[in-house]
Each structure stands twice: as structure tokens, then as C-alpha cells.
């Protein structure tokens, strides 16, 4: 078992290393190697999932030892880890295959595929890690690979800025996470997940709201939740398959997975705060998505909103449901991102939806699979999103009314902006030359779309999955199944997507070059467009508060540390040196004189003339 666990972890690292060392110039070989690696990961993952006899597999060894403190390196493959392994390896494999088509003409292929391999390595590391410090190490590594891949088009200013922003904003969250880990070690004396669970079980008073929230900072940064959500929409500057893999299906979902791994660390207060934050994000991101023109940014805001749903489910005490939604979301959101990639590829990197139109007839497979994704995310009855999303809504309805209202409004908005995206992109008439001349992509790109669309349809039937994969979500699904108001929720859910779809049809069925919303409700439009001024606030904070503070500290540093202490002590030494230099006149007579005078002086001192 541990051999396979090591193989699945080190295989992508090896692939990245080979790409870095030998294949920098040969992009085609690098891409094939990377795809083969992801295939290998899929095989190993399936082995790990089905050969563990559904037991918790643990294995650990000493990583490093410092005095009395020991850091261990270990695997913990339990039910949630098996599910995430499945999602990461399966969706990852499809996206690798899609990348073969999407990146076919790229000149930096080997960098791209090497980056994907590093990402797979770090993501699998998070999945199987058995202690918080290991998770943190891989946590930073996914941050790094995300930075690397966002900046793939490194000659554009947008990509350079976006990668920097993603990296720095994530550091803010990770700092909180790190503090949380240190506090955890302080309070418990261990960072091993199983030992922590046992300790909390033994003495529940050990956990505190603050500790839980500090650890949740990691989730807030990585999953781009309020108030660190600003990086994800900008991160769309990277290649589209990267957005699908990292910024929709896996890495941002790793935040939810982290919460799940440490769900015993949260108090009631911390949980309810997370629920409200998540639900608020679900609604807020919906409003932002409603007014975007860039197809990928709409999907990015939709991802934010769905991550909010997962956080809300977790906050409501249903981690299994959060994981369930993570899985279905990974399928339909990867599907939609790859669909948008297909559209972008066909339209020569045009990303403005108002420049598309009428693509359904030209790209039937992309259009139909995209529509399936849209229907799934809107929660259309009996598709995958319906099950996971309505489970969250029902839980909220029965347990926390304010959260339910936020989430329900978010659900209507989801249907509205997703159908808006669909109608503007695929229906009507072509509004630009690029869209008029678009045509369907090859099998490398439509194949993954078709596979994912099947999963987006049937992914919600948990009984279809092998028990080994869905073990972790079954208990919570049974809890939800036992809740009242099922029928009422079906009516409400159906109402939500139908209202959204019809409004979108009436509003966006026939559009020109401008957003109809900006003409009819300009105030509302500009309010949504402003995204509530978060970017401006952070910009203001950095320019007006942080920069002056930094400059003040710089002056203080120049004055006191570099000026007074460093230059000052150097100055004293230089002064002494100058004094000494005066005696050095280059005449042997003077030296003899000083030598003898010095000897006499010493003798005089030794004989006690100076009265010591």
C-alpha cells in the first residue's frame, strides 16, 4: 500500500523533474509524458481506492528530527481522501487530455505540462498527507504551481499581475493558517490529524473558536472566500485548462477538503460564522457574475459562489454534503471551463461573450455539453447539481433560515447568470467575425467534454458509485434524507432555476454589443460591476496605508539600524584606523623610535611606575 502511495505522489514529481531537466525544448514529448503521468496517477489512485478494503490506511515515518522535536511524513487515506483522490486523478486526467488539444499550438508547452505535473504532485500531497505541517508544505506547493500556471502567458501584463496577486493574496491566508498550526501544536503537542481527533474527542474543551478560525484562514485564502476572494477572477489570465483544473475543480476545492480534515477543530461559533460567510459569498459572487463580459470571469465568479455553498454546507455541520457538492461541482464546473476553453480556442482567444453568438450551430458538441453543465449547476431536477445543491438548501432551510435565504437568492442568481452566459454565447446570431468562422474542435477536446457531461448528468446518484468512493458522504446524505420538507424544497428548487432561465431568456435572448442590463438598470449594473469596491479598498489600503508605513519603516531603518548602528560602528572603527594611519609615515627611524619607546613604556608599566 505505501509503495503505491509513494508512487502516486512521486510519479508526477518525477515527470516534472524529467521535463525540467531534459525536455525543455521538446514540448511534444513533455506533453505526452505529462498525460501519461496523469494516466498513471489515475491507475494508482484506483488501486489505492479499491484495494484498501475500505479501511483507513495510515503509514508514517520520521521526516526530520530536531532535538526533541520530530516531524513525521505520513499517509492518511480514509474515506474523504479516497473521494478526493478519485476526483483529482479523474478530472485531472481528462484535463490533461484536453490540454493536448488546447495547447497544441503553444510555444511553451513543456513549461505548461511540467507545471501541470508539479500541480498534480502537490495536490495529491494535500490529499494523502496525515499531518498539518505536511499539508501546509503541499499547500504552499499548490500555491506555487498555481502561480506558475497563471503566469503561463508571461509576456502579457495581465497574467504577470494576476499571478502575483494570486500568490500574495494566498500568502495572507496562509499566514493565518500557519499561526493556526503553531497554536495547534502549542495546545495539543501534535499536528497529526488522527491524534488531534483523538485528543479533541477526549477533551472537547481544548478547541477554541479562534484556533478554528485561524486554521480556516488557509481555506479562505485557497478557496478564495470573503475577504480574500479577489485573486480568483484575475487568475483567469492563465490558460483555460488550468482554470478548469486548478481554479475550479481541485485546488480551490482543497480548501473545503482541509476543513473536512480538521472538522473536529471547529466550535459552534466558528461553524456558524463559516456558514454565513459562505452563504454571503454565494450571493455576492452571483451579482458579480451577472455583469461580467469575459466568459472565464463569469465562470470564476460562479466557482466562488459554489465554493460559498460548500462552505455553508460545512458550516451547517454537514461536511459530507460539502464533499458531495465538491465532487459534483468538480465535474460540471470542469465541464463548463473546458467548454469555454473549446469556445475560446475556436474563436481565436476571444473571451468577450458579446462577441460570440450563434455558436450552437457551429460547435454542437461543445454547446450541448456546455448546456448540460449549465443545467447541472442550476440544479435542474435529477442532474448532478440538483442533488448536492438541494441537499445544502434543505439543510439550511431546516436549520438556519438566514443562510437559506442567502443561498436561495444565490440559486436564482446562478440560474440567471448561467443561462445568460449560455444564451449570449450559443444562441442568436454571430456578433463578430471570429464567432462567425468558428468550428468544432477535434476529438482530444470534445472527448473529455462528453465524458464530463455524462458525469454532470449522473454524478448526483450516489448509489451509482462504488462504496469505496462515496463512503464519506453517505452518513450525511442519510441525515439529509431524514429531514422534513423534501417536497417543498423540490418545488422551491425547480422554481428557482425556471425563474432564472425564463428571465435570462427574456432578457438576454437577443442582445447586441452592449449588456441590456446596463441600459435598463444602469445603477444596479454599475454597482454589480464595482464588485462592492473590494479591489479599490485593497488598493487604497496598500497605497495609502501600507506603502507609507513601509516608507516610514525604511526611513527609520536608514536612520537607526543602517545609519546609527551599522554605519556608526563602522565609523568608530574608521576613526581609530585614521588615528593609527597618522603614525605610519614610512620612515624606519620613526618606527624604531616608537618601538623602543613602546618597550620602555611597557617596562615602566611592569615596574609599577604608574602606581598600579
Amino acid at each position: 500500500m505505501e509503495t503505491v502511495a509513494f508512487s502516486i505522489l512521486l510519479l508526477p514529481l518525477l515527470s516534472a523533474l524529467i521535463t525540467l531537466l531534459f525536455l525543455r525544448k521538446s514540448g511534444n514529448i513533455a506533453s505526452l509524458l505529462s498525460v501519461a503521468t496523469s494516466g498513471g496517477i489515475l491507475v494508482f489512485a484506483l488501486y489505492l481506492i479499491f484495494n484498501g478494503e475500505n479501511e483507513v490506511f495510515t503509514w508514517q515515518t520520521t521526516w526530520m528530527k530536531m532535538a526533541g522535536w520530530e516531524l513525521s511524513f505520513g499517509f492518511l487515506i480514509d474515506a474523504p481522501a479516497r473521494l478526493l483522490l478519485f476526483v483529482v486523478s479523474f478530472v485531472g486526467f481528462l484535463i490533461h487530455v484536453f490540454s493536448l488539444g488546447y495547447m497544441a499550438d503553444d510555444e511553451a508547452k513543456s513549461r505548461y505540462f511540467g507545471g501541470l505535473s508539479i500541480f498534480m504532485f502537490s495536490m495529491i500531497g494535500i490529499t494523502v498527507a496525515d499531518n498539518l505541517i505536511m499539508i501546509f508544505v503541499f499547500w504552499e506547493l499548490v500555491g506555487f504551481s498555481s502561480y506558475l500556471l497563471i503566469a503561463h502567458y508571461l509576456t502579457t501584463d495581465e497574467a504577470a499581475q494576476a499571478s502575483k496577486k494570486a500568490f500574495i493574496v494566498n500568502r495572507v491566508g496562509d499566514f493565518g493558517f500557519l499561526i493556526g498550526i503553531v497554536l495547534t501544536y502549542w495546545a495539543f503537542g501534535t499536528v497529526n490529524l488522527l491524534e488531534l481527533a483523538d485528543l479533541v474527542d477526549f477533551d472537547p474543551s481544548l478547541i477554541s473558536t479562534f484556533l478554528g478560525l485561524a486554521l480556516a484562514c488557509g481555506f479562505i485564502g485557497k478557496s478564495a472566500q470573503f475577504p480574500l476572494h479577489v485573486w480568483l477572477p484575475d487568475a483567469m489570465a492563465g490558460p483555460t485548462p488550468v482554470s478548469a483544473l486548478i481554479h475550479a475543480a481541485t485546488m480551490v476545492a482543497a480548501g473545503i477538503y482541509l476543513l473536512l480534515r480538521i472538522d473536529f477543530m471547529f466550535t459552534e461559533h466558528a461553524l456558524s460564522l463559516l456558514a454565513i460567510l459562505g452563504a454571503g459569498m454565494g450571493l455576492y459572487a452571483g451579482f458579480c457574475a451577472l455583469v461580467q463580459r469575459d466568459i472565464k470571469k463569469i465562470l470564476a465568479y460562479s466557482t466562488l459562489s459554489q465554493l460559498g455553498y460548500m462552505a455553508a454546507a460545512f458550516g451547517l455541520g454537514m461536511p459530507g454534503i460539502a464533499l458531495f457538492h465538491l465532487m459534483t461541482h468538480a465535474f460540471f464546473k470542469a465541464l463548463m471551463f473546458l467548454g469555454s476553453g473549446s469556445v475560446i480556442h475556436a474563436c481565436h482567444h476571444e473571451q468577450d461573450i458579446f462577441k460570440y453568438g450563434g455558436l450552437r450551430k457551429k460547435m454542437p458538441i461543445t454547446a450541448i455539453t456546455f448546456l448540460i453543465g449549465v443545467l447541472a449547476i442550476c440544479g435542474v431536477n435529477f442532474l448532478s447539481g440538483y442533488f448536492s445543491k438541494d441537499a445544502i438548501l434543505l439543510t439550511a432551510y431546516n436549520e438556519n433560515m438566514p443562510v437559506f435565504i442567502l443561498l436561495y437568492a444565490g440559486a436564482i442568481l446562478t440560474a440567471l447568470y448561467m443561462f445568460r452566459l449560455y444564451f449570449i454565447t450559443f444562441e442568436g446570431l454571430a456578433r463578430s467575425d471570429k464567432a462567425a468562422h468558428a468550428h468544432e474542435n477535434g476529438a482530444l477536446m470534445t472527448g473529455p467534454l462528453l465524458l464530463l457531461s455524462i458525469l454532470a448528468v449522473v454524478g448526483g446518484y450516489h448509489s451509482l458509485y462504488p462504496f469505496a468512493i462515496v463512503e464519506s458522504i453517505l452518513p450525511d446524505i442519510e441525515l439529509v434524507a431524514a429531514m422534513p420538507n423534501h417536497l417543498w424544497m423540490i418545488v422551491l428548487g425547480t422554481f428557482a432555476w425556471i425563474v432564472g432561465a425564463i428571465t435570462a431568456r427574456n432578457f438576454y435572448g437577443r442582445v447586441g454589443d452592449v449588456d441590456p442590463l446596463s441600459e435598463k438598470f444602469p445603477t444596479f449594473f454599475s454597482l454589480c460591476k464595482s464588485k462592492l469596491f473590494f479591489d479599490q479598498m485593497y488598493g487604497f489600503y496598500i497605497k495609502k496605508i501600507q506603502d507609507p508605513m513601509a516608507r516610514f519603516l525604511e526611513v527609520m531603518e536608514l536612520l537607526f539600524i543602517s545609519g546609527l548602528m551599522v554605519r556608526g560602528s563602522a565609523g568608530v572603527a574608521a576613526l581609530l584606523g585614521m588615528l593609527g594611519k597618522v603614525c605610519y609615515i614610512g620612515k624606519i627611524h620613526a618606527y624604531t623610535f616608537w618601538f623602543v619607546a613602546g618597550t620602555i613604556g611597557f617596562l615602566a608599566y611592569a615596574s609599577g611606575i604608574f602606581g598600579n
Binding site: Y584, I585, G586, K587, I588, H589, T592, F593, V596
Partner: protein, 102 residues
């Protein structure tokens, strides 16, 4: 006639040493500097012999032999250096061979 006491020897020794020292410090000609060094050493020798005589043992006289030997070798080396120097720079004056400064 006044007897010669050890103090007389010490005064003589001090004077010889002082004359030698002045010679080293004042003279520019390195040949004379070497001679003045010899004078300083011999000034010390006088003092040692007188101490040896006063304390009625041979320790001081023994030292004198050592010093004379060392002085002879020192002069041999010093003169050799001086000859080599003169061959190279055509001068035996100290200010002409201060190479590190100026």
C-alpha cells in the same frame, strides 16, 4: 682614587645604549644604523658583565657570549642585505628604500 662601583658600569652601559639608539634614530645611512645597533648591543653587554661580576656567577657573562654571536650573525646578514640593496638601488640611504609608503 675613587673605586669603580657597579653604578658606574650601569651609567656607561646606559650611555652606550643611548648613543646607539640616537644613532639608529637619527642616521640616514643604513651602514651607520647597523653600527649603532652594534653599539646598543654592546651597551647591554657591559651591563650584563657588570651584573655577572657583582652577583659572583657566570650567568651574565654567558649571555654576553650569546649576544656577541647573535650580533656577529646579525651584522653578516645585515651587511649582505645592504650589499644586495645597494646593487639593486645604488643607495644605502633609508629614505630611498621606503617602498610601501610613497
Amino acid at each position: 682614587m675613587e673605586t669603580v662601583t657597579p653604578q658606574h658600569f650601569l651609567v656607561l652601559s646606559f650611555l652606550l645604549f643611548a648613543v646607539g639608539f640616537l644613532g639608529v634614530v637619527i642616521r640616514r645611512n643604513l651602514l651607520l644604523v647597523l653600527m649603532s645597533l652594534e653599539l646598543m648591543l654592546n651597551g647591554v653587554n657591559v651591563a650584563l658583565v657588570s651584573f655577572s661580576r657583582t652577583s659572583l656567577n657566570l650567568d651574565g657573562s654567558l649571555f654576553v657570549f650569546f649576544i656577541m654571536t647573535v650580533a656577529a650573525t646579525e651584522v653578516a646578514v645585515g651587511l649582505a642585505l645592504l650589499v644586495a640593496l645597494y646593487k639593486k638601488r645604488q643607495s644605502v640611504f633609508s629614505e630611498d628604500i621606503s617602498l610601501l609608503k610613497n
